[in-house]
Assembly symmetry: C3
Homo-oligomer: 116 residues x 3
């Protein structure tokens, strides 16, 4: 069985299957924010989607972080480190890509919804 | 057990494990086509590979769409929307990258093969 | 249950859940190496991480290869082909992105740890 969270016009915010929740890439709503600000906003949105799915940030398995400017990777990373649970660090990659205008970072994660 | 679909020289078209089929990134054969045309060709190829794996587009869990030109994202998106089942919208991200010459878009998906 | 392999400051080298090991993107330590040299170093590191996780290269399900220069894709590919087991070819995509200075290639894989 597959469960869909917040389906939109072309994707769902998240899809749950076999104990894993696959999130869509999340971007900040406020494009005027700095890399740090956009990252904070994204991570808050990820918290909410994970909660809806019955998961949370301690259960993230893997993340891909897409950055519009690799020179700002450290700025993203500081916010990530202050957010992520050091006892539950996911697999991760951070790479530089083109994003839509004003978007500095987009984060796509997969998490487990299992409690044990 | 792992099952391989259409293995080639360096990758398989798809790999099945534990109820999930992982597809390789799919590109269009005809590089003279527009973004819309390449996207159509890719989605037809994805339909075929999913069918071989015992899955279909209503069972896609997650997709990453790699675009050679983010200015053409809307053109890709129109074709995607007319193809994807609105009742089964996967998680998705679409990002701008460099692709091989003439390739405008490459799509990599994961789907379930489970029927319930 | 989720198991973490070599947790660092912001990510783990790998995360195991439900029979699948998710690796972080792996880069070469020696940035003076050519594309071929960096790819060799990365694949050796992946061998080690997979071994720690109770897996190996014959059990890779899916790989994304991030290249800093798509003109060097063939150079990466030759090393990949000489390394990967032709009887167990994973799903794969290779795309061009920006990486940190000197890094020519980064590889992120998922593998099963199941023996049958």
């Amino acid at each position: 069985m597959v469960e869909y969270i917040k389906p939109g016009s072309w994707s769902s915010r998240a899809v749950i299957h076999n104990g894993v929740v696959y999130l869509s890439g999340v971007v900040a709503d406020d494009k005027t924010l700095s890399m740090a600000g956009q990252t904070e906003q994204i991570l808050k949105k990820i918290d909410k989607v994970l909660k809806k799915a019955g998961s949370d940030k301690t259960k993230i398995l893997s993340a891909v972080i897409y950055l519009a400017d690799m020179d700002l990777k450290d700025e993203m990373n500081e916010v990530w480190i202050s957010w992520i649970d050091p006892a539950h660090l996911p697999a991760r990659a951070a790479v530089g890509v083109d994003l839509t205008l004003g978007t500095l970072v987009e984060i796509k994660v997969e998490a487990t919804i299992q409690t044990t």
